[in-house]
């Protein structure tokens, strides 16, 4: 895999991360990453055979002189008055294929020259830019310079003995960009104004500063346009970058490292699996179920069922099962606690998104629960008729009584008529009939209450399960799933960034 492919893959990963994270996070922490991926996409589309090198620095450090010297032209005006260069000048070695690159850079073609590649084949593919000055009173110059510094592949910082320790360069452009170490070159220009000994001390001091900026590996050379000293070193540095054709990739890769390092804190927490796992979900549904009075309804239904299933009680009264309104405060508190636990499991930047996913529900979920439960609660008919089996028991009970009554009547009739009752199994018929009837009645009377209680409990469990199911559907739809989606996206984003090659 070439480094270009690798870089493309890495940018694809960051883009995927951004696609996942952007709906959830504030714009600010992602803006830099998005800008970089956009820029990388355009740069990688453009000529990879060219390397854009910019000479940047404060006014008066001799950027333009150095540019003219390297380009072998007098394109960029040089003068004693400050600031001199207001717009970027460019010079292309081997212009074939560089047109769109220059267009992308926004360098005026009128201020672009073509350098002679003859004699310096190592520079074929170089696009050298002379940037406007930084830190002068002309703010527009700095704006243009900033724009180009963010686009080019390699930046040569042109400093001089007066200005090499200026805050504007070190604080604004060098410190805090450790990823750019491979595409940063520092030049101590105008070294001719110093003695050889002072030049060495200055270079050492500059190296110390650069190191404290976090760019310790960046090359530092002393040059002089007047004497030509050190220019060949600089040319060699540029040449190696141009020949290697890696500067664009190194720069993007370095910036990518920085951007990724900046993104990592956004996904530095593993989502604890318990945040929205079975436990909290069950707790939420339980709490909602209780808050809606499902337990109470179940209890009431059980009682009604047990009461009515007993054969000697009237079954006819319709028993109204009111599904009272949910306790709104309980519902809200349950949802709030669930959401808060989920928020606590992700980095703070994602908290707002988790809240946003569930908050609208906090006010509405109580009403929705009330409506759905009212529709789902068992109606009066279901409760007042405990089922055909209990009808049989009731019938058997009454049949027992009937048998007893029949036996009595039969006995009375026999007494009145004087006939001897039929002999059944060696006993008089009415006695047998009455005994059988009594056994039925007594047996049912003794067993029915406990049997109905068991049945009622099962009935209650069924009802409870069904109502809880209704609560669960609502809870999942309004709270659990939205929160899970955010946490899922978070986990996705985190995993994506961790998979970064």
């Amino acid at each position: 895999m070439t480094s270009a492919d690798l870089l493309t893959d890495r940018f694809a990963v960051v883009e995927r991360f951004l696609d996942i994270a952007e709906p959830h996070l504030a714009e600010e922490p992602l803006a830099a990453a998005r800008a970089l991926t956009d820029r990388a996409a355009s740069r990688l589309r453009l000529s990879g055979a060219h390397t854009v090198v910019a000479l940047a620095g404060a006014t008066g450090t001799g950027k333009s002189s150095l540019f003219n010297l390297l380009a072998g032209s007098e394109l960029s005006p040089v003068g004693p008055l400050r600031p001199t260069t207001g717009e970027a000048y460019g010079c292309v070695w081997n212009p074939a294929g560089a047109t769109s690159l220059l267009e992308w850079l926004g360098v005026d073609p009128a201020r672009t020259a073509v350098a002679d590649v003859e004699g310096q084949p190592g520079l074929a593919g170089l696009v050298l830019l002379d940037l406007p000055d930084l830190g002068s009173v002309a703010v527009s110059h700095q704006v243009e310079s900033d724009r180009l510094i963010s686009l080019v592949d390699l930046v040569v910082w042109v400093l001089d003995p007066q200005k090499y320790a200026d805050r504007v360069v070190h604080e604004t452009y060098l410190k805090g960009f450790p990823g750019l170490v491979d595409v940063t070159v520092l030049v101590l220009n105008r070294a001719d104004t110093l003695t050889a000994e002072d030049t060495e001390r200055c270079l050492a001091d500059l190296r110390r500063l650069v190191e404290s900026d976090g760019l310790g590996q960046a090359p530092v050379v002393a040059t002089s346009v007047l004497t030509g000293a050190g220019v060949s070193d600089l040319r060699a540095l540029i040449e190696s970058a141009v020949v290697g054709r890696q500067a664009a990739l190194l720069r993007l890769s370095g910036e990518l490292d920085e951007v990724v390092a900046g993104l990592r804190p956004l996904v530095n927490l593993d989502v604890p699996t318990e945040a929205v796992s079975a436990g909290p979900v069950r707790n939420l549904i339980d709490a909602l179920t209780t808050a809606c009075g499902v337990d109470s309804v179940g209890l009431a239904l059980e009682r009604g069922y047990a009461y009515r299933a007993v054969p000697w009680r009237r079954a006819g009264h319709p028993y109204e099962i009111p599904m009272g309104p949910p306790q709104e405060a309980s519902v809200r508190l349950a949802v709030r606690e669930f959401v808060d636990a989920a928020v606590a499991s992700v980095p703070p930047a994602w908290g707002a998104s988790v809240h946003a996913a569930a908050s609208p529900s906090i006010g509405e979920i109580a009403d929705q629960l009330a409506g759905e439960l009212a529709a789902a609660a068992p109606g009066p008919s279901r409760v007042s008729r405990p089922g055909w089996r209990w009808g049989l028991v009731r019938a058997a009970w009454w049949a027992g009584w009937l048998a007893v009554l029949g036996a009595l009547g039969w006995w009375a009739a026999a007494l009145a008529t004087g006939t001897v009752p039929i002999d059944w199994f060696g006993l008089p018929g009415p006695v047998v009939l009455g005994a059988v009837g009594l056994v039925f009645v007594v047996a049912i009377s003794l067993t029915a209450p406990s049997l109905t209680r068991r049945s009622a409990r099962r009935f209650r469990a069924r009802v409870h399960e069904r109502l809880r199911g209704v609560v669960e559907v609502v809870a999942r739809e309004r709270v659990i799933d939205p929160v899970r989606r955010v946490l899922g996206d978070y986990d996705d984003a985190r995993a994506t960034l961790h998979r970064m090659p």
């Binding site: 404060a58 006014t59 008066g60 450090t61 004693p80 008055l81 400050r82 600031p83 830190g135 002068s136 009173v137 002309a138 703010v139 001089d160 003995p161 007066q162 200005k163 090499y164 320790a165 200026d166 805050r167 504007v168 070190h170 604080e171 110093l194 002072d198 001390r201 200055c202 001091d205 500063l209 209780t290 808050a291 809606c292 009075g293 337990d295 109470s296 309804v297 209890l299 009431a300 009682r303 009461y307 009264h317 028993y319 109204e320 009111p322 599904m323 009272g324 309104p325 949910p326 306790q327 709104e328 405060a329 309980s330 809200r332 508190l333 709030r336 707002a352 109580a366």
Partner: protein
């Protein structure tokens, strides 16, 4: 002239002292975007008042202090060294070179500068820069013929504390140094961590009456230098601003010059390190820039680039114009006093302006604190409104509470007519009484739990509302982070507080019921007037003959306090209108009748009021936590007014006094 000014100066001094106190007592604790700027303004204001204005007022005839400021590498130290013909401040190729400020003055002026008059907070070290005679005698001899040590090798002054102290010690025998040391022994022994140190170097090559202060740069990576340089520039009677051909269009020095312009400090600009060929062209451009920035009247000196002499100094002829100008100023006390007065006037003007800036920042702080407090208040009042509504909208009787416990209670009022005939009021056996009491207690527990949940939820709701509102506010975001610890504490003791509030309400209800029981008639027959359907009572369908006459009175007088409490609690939460979704119609209307009972309603109304007050108090207590936090962070509301007053006073006094 000086007397004329002195008359107006004492009130000015007083006014500025008051301004100083007002600024020192101004705090900007809320993290507003304007606060950081204003804090810097306040710091610079304080240091200018302390370092310059207050000590300077009344001592107009004291020596003038010219601060040599500018970019790093502009050649400030070389210029100072060349002017005093002694290597008093190290110059070199490394940037930034000067890190410790060096004040060079004539020995006669040394006592004044060694004393903590100007820049009183900086500890002093002393050194004596005796000039190696020879070439300089033509310049210095005339001005100070009494120099005794002119043949001695000049003290090598190093910028470090230890070397400075050493140098001071080495010259303790010298008359001037001894004088200075004797007069101000405290200045001799700077602590190792005594902040920035000011080296006071005596240089006879200077004219008495004007001292030079070589300040650190304003634009190098060493941030401390810039701070120090600005402090020193604020303490200057005049500025000698050094720039170079490469520097003169840099943004940072021009910012500094703009400050000078705003404060009305006289500025002389030195264009250093310019090649002879380019000098006139660059000077013209620089002059144009100066004129374009209201500094057209600043004298401009050009020191063309040249090789330095053996001591690393500019050759005399290059700096002659600067020296001449400085000398003429030093010798003319009237002009010097005018310069000082102009600086003071400008400084006072800028003090007024900066006081107003601070005042605006203070107002912003107050407004922001009010905004944040308003957000807290509205969050809590919204949460409170929801809770107050929940007390009577019937939702507290919903859910868990709704059915089972109503059912438990129903037989009291329903009697034989209901579908449940387990325990009627007629069955008043001991066992039933106990069951009833338990039922009452259980329903009460369920209700009280609902109340506790309501309060907890309201508090959490208010928290969240506050968070959302504060997240939109820059200072609010910071404050919310800062309040995290306190919030966790609040949240951890909240359950206890809620329990306490609920229990308090419960016992209040109990005592209300007890009191009612004492006053209630003993027999149910006398409870005739307390019929349902009275004014405002519910007029729902009531089955004929169903109303249980006097039942509540019966219960109340029956001694079943728990049951009555439960009834009252129910009545407290029962919605005035709408259905009470319980039981069969007969039971429902019966219960309604009880709840509508005059006495129950009266107690319930009182209980409701009591509960509402408790919820409000609870939320107010939590809100108080935020408001206290804000109060801790609040500026004194009088601060802005104080600043406005002193600003007005400073202006008034300045116009009547020094302005003339």
């Amino acid at each position: 002239m000086t007397e004329g000014g002195a008359g107006g100066r004492a009130p000015l001094h007083d006014a500025l002292s008051r301004a100083r106190d007002a600024v020192a007592h101004t705090s900007l604790p809320l993290a507003l975007p304007s606060a950081a700027v204003a804090a810097r303004t306040a710091a610079s204001l304080l240091s200018q008042l302390d370092d310059y204005l207050l000590p300077r007022l009344g001592t107009l005839d004291a020596p003038t202090l010219a601060v040599v400021g500018g970019s790093t590498g502009a050649g400030k130290s070389t210029l100072v060294n060349s002017l005093v013909r002694a290597p008093v401040s190290p110059a070199g190729a490394l940037r930034p070179t000067t890190r410790a400020p060096v004040l060079v003055c004539h020995p006669m002026d040394a006592p004044w500068f060694a004393a903590p008059n100007l820049l009183p907070a900086m500890s002093r070290s002393h050194a004596d820069a005796r000039v190696n005679g020879g070439t300089d005698s033509t310049v210095t001899g005339g001005s100070n013929p009494t120099v005794t040590g002119s043949h001695a090798v000049g003290a090598h002054v190093a910028p470090s504390h230890a070397a400075g102290a050493h140098a001071a010690g080495a010259h303790a025998a010298g008359a001037h140094a001894a004088h200075a040391a004797g007069a101000h022994p405290a200045g001799e022994a700077p602590g190792p961590a005594g902040g920035p140190m000011l080296q006071v170097v005596m240089a006879p090559a200077l004219n008495p009456g004007l001292a030079l202060l070589d300040a650190p740069d304003i634009d190098s990576v060493v941030a401390e230098n810039r701070r120090l340089a600005e402090e020193l520039l604020a303490a200057a009677d005049m500025w000698l601003f050094v720039t170079t051909a490469a520097r003169y269009a840099d943004a940072v020095p021009w910012q500094t010059l703009r400050q000078a312009c705003e404060r009305g400090v006289p500025v002389a600009v030195v264009l250093d390190r310019v090649t002879v060929e380019q000098a006139s062209e660059v000077a013209l451009d620089l002059a144009k820039m100066l004129a374009g920035r209201d500094l057209g009247d600043a004298p401009l000196f050009i020191i063309p680039e040249s090789t330095l002499d053996g001591q690393g100094m500019l050759v005399e002829q290059r700096i002659a114009p600067v020296r001449t100008w400085l000398d003429s100023l030093a010798r003319d006390p009237v002009r010097r006093a005018a310069v000082t007065r102009r600086t003071i006037a400008g400084a006072v003007r800028s003090v007024g302006a900066r006081l107003n800036e601070l005042e605006v920042a203070c107002d912003e702080q107050t407004a922001a604190a009010e905004d944040l407090a308003g957000m807290v208040r509205s969050a809590y009042s919204r949460a409170d409104a929801v809770a107050q509504d929940a007390v009577t909208n019937g939702t507290l009787l919903g859910g868990d509470v709704s059915l089972a416990w109503w059912e438990e209670l129903a037989p009291y009022t329903v009697g034989r007519r209901g579908t449940h005939e387990r325990k009627g009021p007629q069955a008043s056996s001991v066992a039933n009484r106990i069951t009833r009491a338990v039922a009452g207690r259980e329903i009460q527990d369920a209700l009280l739990n609902a109340v506790a949940v309501l309060i907890t939820e309201s508090a959490a709701d208010a928290d969240r509302r506050t968070q959302v509102a504060w997240a939109e506010h820059p200072a609010g975001r910071v404050l919310w982070q800062e309040a995290a610890v306190g919030r966790r504490e609040t949240a951890s003791c909240r359950p206890d507080l809620v329990r306490r509030a609920v229990r308090g309400w419960q016992s209040a209800v109990r005592s209300m019921v007890r009191a009612a029981r004492v006053g209630a008639p003993a027999t149910p027959t006398s409870a005739g007037p307390a019929r349902p359907g009275g004014p405002g009572g519910p007029t729902g369908t009531r089955p004929g003959g169903a109303p249980p006459a006097g039942t509540s009175m019966q219960i109340i007088s029956a001694g079943d306090v728990d049951a009555v409490c439960a009834l009252v609690t129910l009545a407290t939460f029962a919605p005035r209108q709408g259905t009470t979704p319980i039981l069969d119609p007969a039971s429902r209307s019966a219960l309604r009748a009880v709840l509508a009972d005059e006495q129950v309603r009266r107690i319930a109304a009182r209980a409701r009021t009591d509960l509402r007050a408790r919820i409000r108090d609870f939320l107010a207590e939590e809100r108080h936590g935020y408001l206290v936090l804000l109060q801790k962070k609040a500026t004194d509301p009088a601060a802005a007014a104080r600043l406005r007053a002193v600003a007005t006073e400073v202006r008034r006094v300045a116009e009547s006094g020094v302005g003339g």
